[in-house]
Symmetry: C2
Subunit: 134 residues, 2 copies
């Protein structure tokens, strides 16, 4: 079975007639929505950091995922990786201009999150209470 069938989801990037950018956005949201990427971006907003500095700054992340995310972000051009030779080796991660430009929209979403949280939690509680009654 080698996928002879017609392309499904990811190939129809703009499926809406009225210029909405839905699918593309979905793609980006997937990147933005993963557990650590935006945390990395936000952390690097203040200053460039070394690997272990980052790992300490973002508590709870495994080296595994931090490493993966950093590579992915570098691949996307959102940050730069520069190796400083020496003993010990030091690698510096810094936001690129593209990466910095992402901070605005993300912070907007963050602001929304902060403001909406009480309403969301109240709604969840109410919803769950209804379920228990039944």
């Amino acid at each position: 079975m080698v996928a002879v069938e017609e392309p499904v989801v990811h190939d129809q990037v703009f499926h809406e007639p009225n210029g909405r950018d839905c699918r593309l956005v979905g793609d980006i949201l997937a990147r933005v929505g993963d557990k650590w990427s935006m945390l990395v971006v936000m952390t690097l907003l203040d200053a460039p950091l070394h690997f272990n500095e980052l790992k300490r700054a973002i508590r709870g992340v495994s080296q595994q995922m931090l490493s993966r995310n950093l590579r992915a972000l570098e691949r996307d051009g959102l940050l730069t990786r520069t190796v400083h030779v020496g003993v010990p080796v030091r690698v510096e991660y810094a936001l690129s201009d593209l990466g910095r430009s992402l901070a605005g929209p993300v912070q907007a979403l963050g602001a929304w999150a902060v403001e909406a949280r009480p309403a969301i939690e109240a709604s969840r509680a109410a919803f769950d209470r209804e379920l228990d009654k039944i």
Copy 2:
């Protein structure tokens, strides 16, 4: 093993001294970042829809995931679900005010995505080319 250990990631909501809302945002980003939720929100922005109308509007989604997402969004208070009794039954999904308020930030991110895409894809191509050379 009943998780006696100290709380790890999700309990430290604000771990940064300087008022940044990192963890909380991460939580919201996870919701926002899943494959279909924001597509639902964006689709309902124009008008309320019935289940199958939604399913048709968002091509490629399974009933399974659409159903799950709708319930999750309803639970969070982002949309309302009203059953119109009759034959056949009709259920209408509509954005709540809270849900509508989310559209702004998401569209901002969408705009960024559209603008940044060429740069991102160029960066990816360059990155992958480097790998092939080695």
